[in-house]
């Protein structure tokens, strides 16, 4: 999993409440056998004018020029500014996979759906909850100046605006530790690799027939 420590990137304002997981990644793309490659279908129905099909080449599809991520000034955006209840709907982990694959590293919103919020941390994506007023302020600033970038300092738990203003946010200590160190469940277990190896050595001594037999 990608570490998240300090990140600076272009912010894009997605001014719509209750963005659900079906909007983030429509269901026809879930049949894939992969967990990468969903970025080109992120927000498919909002982003393109035609109906997307799995395995379809997306370059050349008619774009919805009004959609925020299609606008020239937001190209390369990596921080998504959103409204309340972002990520509601199904538990599909494809939603954070799609955001991450597209290049989004952090989503800032007044509130998130719980499962989506949890799934973000498993995939190196940082969801940040700010107050309605703070999010409003960021929307105004982003829309006012082209090339507006935000810096997110996870260690200090602040979002830094171009003027240097620091907006503090809360995050669970354990989740912060995992993101700072790039630890997903597997990463956490691998912190105990020495104990696993010690067990394995003992197992091998006791039951050597379980090792090297299947090849």
């Amino acid at each position: 999993m990608n570490k998240f420590t300090l990140h600076t990137g272009i912010a894009a304002p997605l001014d719509r409440a209750n963005i659900d997981t079906d909007m983030i990644i429509p269901k026809q793309f879930l049949k894939s056998i992969k967990r990468s490659g969903f970025g080109k279908n992120l927000f498919d129905e909002l982003r393109y004018l035609d109906e997307g099909q799995p395995d379809q080449e997306c370059t050349g599809r008619p774009l919805n020029e009004d959609f925020v991520l299609n606008k020239a000034r937001y190209q390369g955006a990596s921080v998504l500014l959103a409204r309340e209840n972002f990520g509601c709907g199904s538990s599909r982990e494809h939603a954070p996979w799609a955001l991450e694959d597209f290049g989004i590293r952090s989503v800032i919103a007044p509130s998130f759906a719980e499962i989506f919020y949890n799934n973000c941390f498993k995939n190196g994506l940082l969801p940040i909850v700010l107050s309605d007023a703070q999010v409003d302020q960021l929307f105004i600033e982003v829309e006012a100046s082209e090339g507006y970038q935000l810096t997110i300092n996870l260690e200090k738990q602040v979002v830094v605006t171009p003027s240097g203003e620091e907006i503090a946010f809360d995050i669970d200590g354990f989740r912060k530790h995992c993101l700072l160190n790039g630890l997903d469940d597997i990463g956490l277990t691998l912190q105990h690799a020495d104990e696993i190896k010690a067990y394995e050595a003992k197992r091998k001594a006791e039951a050597p027939w379980l090792f090297g037999a299947i090849q």
Binding site: K34, R35, T189
Partner: protein, 475 residues
């Protein structure tokens, strides 16, 4: 201090550490992989730049999606594009990571839970996982086997460990002996009828008592297979001479001096005399009759001599509602005799009942008889290439074909509607599989779970019949 149950022993012997949150890290000796739940796990490894912890702990085969008709031309002949891509992806992943895979046309290919013990890949005393809930099957060997999800498949690939919590212990004891024509499938269906589909939730169930002690390994696998239908993620049978005889001489079983050492270690894989179980269920084997499910949950089961239940006899409104809904979906009437249920298809197969004994049981019934006119299709799908060969060596294929049943290539087939073998809307099927949920065998399909002998009897009569009547006629 009270003694330990078999589950306790297996758990403790694999405990690597207890995490701060009370969960445990359990070392996993074996992982069995198939095409449906592994692709994203491999992809996850690649994205994170990780390698499998131990290649030689894994074994793979495609089963859920493979066609069971002539398929010598290989993967390219799978018609459904998603199925094809899943099977191909398994092949590619196993090739890339160096994991042993029995590919679609390898004669050792089969349903994961049939193939793995048959190869000696699963042995007594091991911990095993597979991305499929019927992994509990493997507990028949005295192994601790868990069905897991895709993220856990990846976790085990990467760390050789499973994060888990210890379960409670349940003993299901079936005493005495089974009557003639009553099979392990009837036993487990009866048990599920007694404890309910949620009765085993949170428990590891050990099956004990004379009935299981005298049961073959194939039968024990049938029973453990369906532990999950009683809500238990783990089913277990203690190791005895029958286990050892089954394991000896298989491809990946220990040999020579290792065998002797292994046998010595395995003999302790029984619950201690004074072990305490959190729950004990006692059933008299002689009370069990051939079973038939009438509804849309495995607990909706009765004896073949019984009738479809009448909601008017129920007081619990939730149950009344459940019965009414099931009756409607199944197109049955309250109080209808089970033997009056007309059938359209018969399926003999699945990880529950596709082993050699199951096929022998079915063949004995259909021998010299013909599939009834109202049966559109009767399938016999062996659980693996090896089972298929053995059955052919015994001439069982000819018996089936002569009787008008179809003899197929190994795979999951009509157990679930993921490959071309499916039920039509509204069709009734006598099926030896393990789930009778709505739509499980095809949209609108109506599944009745039964033993292989009962399915065979249904095939030749066109409706349910107590198989003992036919066996008697055989003399």
């Amino acid at each position: 201090m009270a003694g330990q149950t078999l589950y306790d022993k297996l758990f403790d012997a694999h405990l690597v550490r207890t995490n701060d949150d009370g969960s445990s890290l359990l070392y996993i000796d074996r992982q069995v992989l198939h095409e449906v739940t592994s692709p994203q796990a491999f992809e996850g490894l690649r994205i994170a730049g990780r390698k499998p912890w131990r290649i030689d702990a894994n074994i793979a085969t495609p089963d859920h999606n493979v066609p069971t008709t002539e398929r010598s031309a290989g993967v390219e002949f799978i018609v459904d594009p998603v199925s094809k891509i899943q099977v191909k992806t398994l092949d590619e992943n196993c090739d890339e990571f160096g994991i042993l895979e029995f590919k679609m046309n390898d004669h050792r290919q089969g349903i994961v839970h049939v193939m793995a013990p048959e190869q000696g890949a699963i042995l007594p005393g091991v911990t095993a996982v597979c991305g499929d809930s019927h992994t509990a099957t493997l507990g028949a060997l005295g192994a601790l086997a868990h069905g897991v999800g895709t993220s856990e498949v990846e976790h085990v690939l990467a760390t050789q460990c499973l994060i888990t919590k210890k379960m409670k212990n349940m003993l299901v004891r079936v005493d005495g002996a089974l009557g003639v024509g009553v099979t392990p499938k009837d036993v487990v269906l009866h048990v599920i009828g007694v404890i309910g589909t949620a009765g085993g939730t949170g428990y590891a169930i050990e099956f004990g008592g004379d009935v299981f002690r005298n049961m073959s390994m194939e039968g024990r696998m049938t029973v453990c297979n369906m532990a999950i239908e009683a809500g238990a993620r783990v089913g277990l049978v203690a190791v005895d001479q029958i286990t050892l005889d089954y394991v000896e001489g298989r491809a990946f079983s220990p040999k020579g001096e290792d065998w002797n050492r292994a046998v010595e270690a395995w003999r302790s894989l029984v619950s201690d005399e004074d072990a305490e179980f959190d729950e004990v269920i006692v059933i008299n084997g002689a009370d069990i009759e051939p079973q038939v499910t009438w509804g849309t949950s495995p607990e909706m089961v009765v004896s073949v001599s019984d009738q479809v239940p009448n909601p008017a006899n129920e007081t619990d409104p939730v149950k009344v509602d459940g019965i009414n809904r099931a009756l409607k979906y199944m197109g049955l009437k309250a109080d209808q005799k089970i033997t009056d249920i007309k059938l359209d298809r018969v399926f003999i197969g699945s990880c529950t009942n596709s082993r050699i004994e199951d096929l022998r049981d079915a063949a004995k019934v259909v021998k010299g008889r013909k599939v009834a006119d109202n049966i559109i299709q009767a399938l016999v799908v062996p659980g693996s290439g090896l089972v298929k060969t053995q059955a052919e060596n015994e001439g069982l294929d000819k018996i089936f074909i002569e009787a008008g049943l179809e003899w197929r290539e190994p795979g999951c087939s009509m157990c679930l509607a993921m490959n071309p073998d499916k039920l039509g809307n509204g069709e009734h099927c006598a099926s030896t599989s393990n789930r009778n949920f709505e739509g499980r065998q095809g949209f609108g399909g109506r599944t009745h779970l039964v033993s292989p002998a009962m399915a065979a009897a249904a095939a030749v009569t066109g409706h349910f019949i107590d198989v003992r009547e036919l066996l008697q006629a055989n003399g």
